[in-house]
């Protein structure tokens, strides 16, 4: 469904992505991991059509994404994608429920309907009592759950999350991941999570390991037979799927 082939992206003299390929199926939950600076965020931004790679292609349902102009990519993102970042994505002046309603309003649902939908999402993510608070009055875990609600409220086909638990402790992170993954599975939403936390990566069906801008390896469900070599291609730059 979402497919990247031989992506290259450089910032000045640093090559952030150097021939990365990946294929993501409908309803799949994918973790992109790797050491700091390995190009995880850059890959996510390319997949989500936020930035354009210099070479290679990104396809959604077989349709090229990277060749679209800014307006078309913006529309594509609005109609298909939801995004969660590590922090700071909520508008500080809007209450939690208004923040969640915002993308719905931008999609021209009515005010009352948007706010109602937003509230029900907050309830679903166990943050109903935060609804009328400003982001500055919420804890990190509550903020992230509100952000997850905002990403999911528009019913996206793919949710991208860049270090969604990066600013949280274990338990708060677990709650956020539980709700994110749980709702994604229920609604068969594809989920792409960038993380360097293995316990977050363990929520995914499959992992893409980046190192120095190339795919270093991958792993899938059911490869853990003790002692036996697991699937995954150690060869640098190769596409590794199992």
């Amino acid at each position: 469904m979402l497919e990247a082939r031989a992506l290259r992206k450089a910032f000045g003299r640093t090559t952030a992505l150097d021939g990365v390929s990946a294929e993501i199926g409908e309803g799949e939950i994918i973790a992109i991991t790797g050491p700091s600076g390995s190009g995880k965020s850059t890959l996510l931004h390319c997949l989500a059509g936020i930035i354009r790679p210099e070479a290679g292609e990104v396809r959604l349902d077989g349709r090229r994404v990277d060749t679209l102009d800014e307006d078309d990519r913006t529309r594509l993102r609005r109609e298909n994608f939801g995004i969660v970042f590590q922090f700071g994505q909520l508008v500080p002046e809007l209450s939690a429920v208004e923040n969640v309603a915002l993308p719905l309003l931008f999609n021209r649902h009515g005010r009352r309907e948007s706010l109602r939908t937003a509230r029900s999402w907050l309830e679903r993510l166990d943050t109903a009592d935060c609804a009328d608070h400003l982001p500055g009055e919420l804890s990190g875990g509550q903020l992230q759950r509100v952000a997850v609600a905002r990403a999911l409220a528009v019913g996206p086909r793919v949710v991208f999350a860049d270090e969604p638990t990066g600013a949280l402790d274990s338990l708060a992170g677990e709650q956020v991941m539980d709700t994110l993954v749980g709702t994604a599975r229920e609604s068969r939403t594809t989920l792409v999570i960038v993380t360097h936390d293995n316990r977050v990566a363990a929520y995914a069906d499959r992992e893409i390991v980046l190192r120095d801008g190339t795919v270093a390896g991958a792993s899938t469900v059911g490869t853990s037979t003790a002692g036996a070599p697991a699937a995954g291609a150690p060869a640098a730059g190769g596409e590794a799927t199992t």
């Binding site: 965020s41 936020i50 860049d162």
Partner: protein
């Protein structure tokens, strides 16, 4: 200690240096305008001169007074605005310093040092520029324009630097209160009762000047004019600041009913910090106030005496001065919107990433301007026209036509004020594009 104070000045980024330069420009303009105002005051009144009849003849006395005020007030406002230019970034930097262990006293000194330094640099330039212009005018107009003593220039410079140092000290106040408060700022300052006190004081001074007219206790009729001018300035400041209440009410109402996300965002952002908008709109309000006041005066005079060329020239000149003030106010607004975008760059970049078009976010800027500027401009226009009608009520010849002219002119001035704010907001979309770059999303 000195090193600690100077360190943050050296460690500035390119945009911060640009803002510092803007501060210097503000100080330069303020000094220049202050010197010009002093020069104007030292014109010998009642000395007949063809070319400068406006400043010396008895008839357009009120107009002269207004022009004087018009020159002094933007200078003062600009000084204040200029010192607030870098507040957003500076506060953030100072907060970081506080967390790094600087004492509250030290951080306040740092703010004052930065502001004072920039003021001294720019102010000196402004003073020199004024001296140059002054010498040229004095020489070319055979001494009708008096040569201002450099002592006055130094005094003006000192005033500007002191004002900037003071506002530099004041700007560090939040930081001093709570180094962490900036990171999680949930509560912002709303309207204050002091604003209404300003209004009362202004009305009192104005009334004193009016009632006193020719027989004012101090300085005779000049004293009365001075009292009226000061009263007007205070009244205006008070009104614009009191407009904070109105801005917030309008924003709250807009935010409560709208189905447009742009309006919702704009209304809530304005509602969260109406004071900042009121402050940024001071000069716009001022321009509308004078424009509408002068309009009332024009309506009265023109309909009474017909179109006489000397009046027309005078009015044209004054409208030009108003235009100048409007441009100044535009600068203040641009700065305000830039600061605000700085605060919102992460959340806006996240919205853009999730598919909100940049044009929609641009509309947020223009709607903010609309929500905030409308009440201020309406209040200023009504106040300006009302003041002239009230003070001139005893004068003969207020025909219905004059009233109609006044009303139309006031409406036009309010419209121009709002339009200026909206145009500035549209111009800020360039800064918005900068704020929406994907780099803002990187978590590293």
């Amino acid at each position: 200690m000195i090193t600690v104070i100077r360190m943050p000045v050296r460690g500035r980024s390119a945009p911060e240096r640009a803002r510092a330069r803007l501060m210097s420009v503000g100080a330069a303009l303020a000094t220049f305008l202050l010197c010009a105002a002093v020069t104007l005051v030292s014109f010998r009144i009642d000395t007949p001169d063809d070319r400068l009849w406006m400043f010396t003849e008895r008839e357009p006395r009120l107009v002269v007074a207004l022009t004087l005020a018009l020159l002094v007030v933007p200078a003062a406002v600009f000084t204040y605005q200029a010192s607030r230019l870098a507040t957003a970034t500076r506060e953030r930097r100072l907060a970081a310093l506080r967390l790094a262990g600087a004492t509250p006293y030290e951080t306040r000194l740092i703010g004052a040092y930065e502001a004072g330094r920039q003021a001294l640099l720019g102010g000196s330039l402004g003073g020199v520029a004024h001296l140059a212009v002054n010498v040229v005018l004095w020489w070319s107009l055979d001494g009708v324009v008096p040569l201002l003593s450099p002592v006055w220039t130094l005094a003006a410079l000192a005033a500007v630097v002191l004002a900037e140092v003071w506002s530099g000290l004041a700007a560090g106040r939040h930081v001093v209160a709570s180094p962490l408060g900036l990171v999680r700022r949930a509560r912002l300052r709303g309207p204050r009762a002091v604003d209404l006190l300003l209004v009362a004081l202004g009305v009192a001074l104005l009334a004193a000047g009016l009632i006193g007219k020719g027989r004012f206790p101090v300085l005779g009729k000049y004293g009365a004019a001075l009292s009226m001018t000061a009263g007007m300035v205070l009244l205006l400041f008070g009104l614009v600041l009191a407009a904070t209440w109105l801005i917030r009410a309008v924003a709250r109402r807009a935010g409560r009913v709208t189905a447009a996300p742009e309006t919702l965002l704009a209304a809530r952002i304005v509602q969260a910090d109406p004071r900042a908008w009121a402050r940024a709109l001071t000069v716009v309000g001022l321009t509308v106030f004078f424009g509408s006041g002068i309009g009332a005066q024009q309506g009265n005079v023109l309909l009474r005496t017909g179109l006489q060329p000397p009046y027309l020239t005078a009015y044209l000149l004054i409208d030009l001065a108003l235009l100048l003030a409007l441009v100044t106010s535009a600068a203040a607004l641009v700065v305000h919107q830039a600061e605000e975008l700085l605060d919102h760059r992460r959340s806006f970049a996240a919205l853009a990433a999730s598919g909100v078009p940049a044009t929609a976010l641009g509309r947020v800027l223009t709607r903010q301007a609309l929500i905030a500027a409308s009440p201020v401009c309406v209040v200023a226009a009504v106040a300006g026209a009302g003041l002239v009608i009230l003070t001139g009520a005893d004068a003969p010849g207020w025909s219905p036509g004059a009233f109609a002219f006044t009303a139309v002119r006031a409406a036009v001035m309010a419209g121009i004020g709002v339009l200026a704010a909206v145009l500035v907001a549209r111009a800020s979309r360039r800064i918005l594009r900068e704020a929406l770059r994907p780099e803002e999303l990187r978590t590293g």
